[in-house]
């Protein structure tokens, strides 16, 4: 990261956008205290991200790009275990997991092992695991990567609904149409540097010759392929 200044407002949906290698995942790693920034400050809920990482982690839910679940356990077993590690009561785990499973269309598959889920089901199950402790801030790293249109739409609707419950969402995606629709503000970064930020409508309006967020993105990050 180099000179990135990112301010995520409470109860907002912020999209962190950038081509491959832009530094989106590094940024998330810093926010959740997995990586210590060499320089500069990163604060969440007014606390230093690395120094108070355990405190911060109580209030944030991170949905990694990888399916961070135990493949040989069923969805229920995964949620019981993860919920117990968050010190949630059995009843609360049951109540929240039930709601989320129902909402994300996995209720009838809850007794199946995660390893036997389809790609889209795994993505949804991954999201549920990160929301069991009802975090105030949800950080999603490519939550819709490699899923079918139906699953994408379901996740999209769910995130909008979740946001309505006064939750803050920070998410990264390569699906710019999705970001345009979902985010109140987007931040475009490239090669670890801040490029620009603003609401999708504002950015489209102020960037000449653009009709959608993807045009704005290409305008500022160029057409060269990134590895």
């Amino acid at each position: 990261m180099d000179g990135l200044n990112l301010d995520v407002k409470k109860n907002s949906v912020t999209g962190l956008l950038g081509p491959n290698g832009a530094g989106k995942t590094t940024c998330i790693n810093i926010i959740c205290g997995l990586v210590k920034a060499d320089d500069g400050t990163a604060r969440v809920f007014d606390k230093n991200c690395f120094g108070a990482k355990e405190e911060i982690r109580k209030k944030i839910g991170v949905v990694p790009q990888q399916i961070a679940l135990f493949g040989n356990l069923t969805a229920w077993e995964n949620y019981n275990y993860i919920g117990s590690l968050y010190n949630l009561s059995k009843a609360l785990i049951h109540e929240r997991a039930n709601y989320l499973l129902e909402r994300l269309g996995l209720f009838k598959h809850a007794d199946k092992r995660i390893g036997r889920y389809s790609g889209g089901m795994k993505r949804r199950a991954n999201i549920i695991a990160s929301l069991l402790h009802d975090p105030e801030l949800v950080i999603l790293d490519e939550p819709t990567a490699g899923v079918d249109v139906q699953s994408r739409a379901l996740i999209h609707d769910f995130l909008q609904e979740y946001h309505q419950r006064n939750k803050t969402i920070l998410y990264t995606s390569h699906h710019l149409d999705e970001a345009e629709e979902l985010c109140e503000q987007v931040v475009i970064i490239d090669e670890g540097k801040y490029i620009l930020s603003g609401s999708p409508k504002e950015l489209i309006a102020t960037t000449p010759g653009t009709r959608k967020l993807e045009d704005v993105f290409l305008h500022y990050t160029g057409h060269s392929v990134r590895d």
Binding site: N29, C32, V35, K53, K58, Q66, L73
Partner: protein, 434 residues
Amino acid sequence: MRKIAATILKEWILLKRDLGGIALLFLMPVMMIIVMALIQDAPFKDYQELKFDLLMVNNDKGKLAHEIIEGFIKSKNFNVIENIDGKQLTDESLKKYLQKGTYHVGIIIPAGATAEVVNAANLISNDLSKKLGLGGTLPARESRSTTYVRVLFDPVSKPTFRSSITFAIDKFVTYSCSNMLLQRLSKMAATVEDDKNEATSDFEKVFKGIGVKEEMVFEDKNDKKLINSTQHNVPSWAIFGMFFIVIPIAGHMIREREDGSATRVALIPYSWLMVSLGQIIFYTLVCAVQFWCMMAIGLWFLPLLGLSKLYLGLNVFSLIPISLSIAFTATAYGYFIGSVFKTINQALPLGAVSVVILSALGGLWVPVELLPEVMKKVARFSPLNWGLDAVNTITLRKGNLLEVLPDLLILLSFGLLLWIASMFFNQSRKISVQ
């Protein structure tokens, strides 16, 4: 506490579903114990406990040959064979059978052996009689060159086997010669005392007055059963199997890092230590159960195969803390391997090979007492040896918990050190949400 319990439950479910892992943990050591105990049963038995087929060519037909053969038959260690397929054995046919490997040991008593021994005995008796002024001489001629009772072996026989058999045969020949000399002296004494039988019996008593009798340090009816294949192989391979937990633990840890579930746990506040503790407790218990299952094999299954029953000593309950200490160290070792190595391809072969090496060095394959001096010193650096030594102190040396405390402290300290080092590696490893 809840986090530890949840982790134990999760590990239990995962292990239940990993049939390969369960087979590795429980079936592999069972197979090792059965196979090795059966293979090593004979080498562990003193040669005097075994019965060998002994080919015999009796070219002498005299008293000496008769006494040697009787001696072998009475010893119950030899099955004396003079005819095969109805044919009397000859020097040539005996060699042929030994060369084929059908039989492993044969004896050829030369013609005239009795005459030679009788002559020698007469010469000695005459000499003694003359010196003592007893009068009377037995018929004798000048002694000829030494007559040998020839012992022949299957060419693949081991030197220890050869020396044991040669020693036993030599003992019978010497006994027969001495007996013959005694009879000659008795005969002469009887001439003087006119009481043949009494004199002979007195001579025998004198010779039986000094002998060798083996006794054990402890007074216990089980003493004679202790040094056997079961007693060596059951604890050895049980400990070996316990350390083989390195495979499921390391594989499991690396897979969790690779599939991202370790990242999930890392993102949950105040969890890593509790999760690590839960895993250590779970696998320690699995290893301890494994140990006692292997003991059960030694107690109840091996005797069904004709092997000795495992003897657990006088302080069986002392084996509980010992098994838990070994289990903890084995688990910590697996945890260490799973933490240090990045990939399964690195961890599993190296983990397995290291356990094999540590077990060989630690005297699990061959008792430490039989190792060369240098290796005996090296053995003291193997955690498997600390465990085996503690078990042997309880079972073979009839020790108690106090006596094995140094071994247990070393085991536990080593395990703790490995666990701390593993946590350090895990904490310093760069974890990413990706």
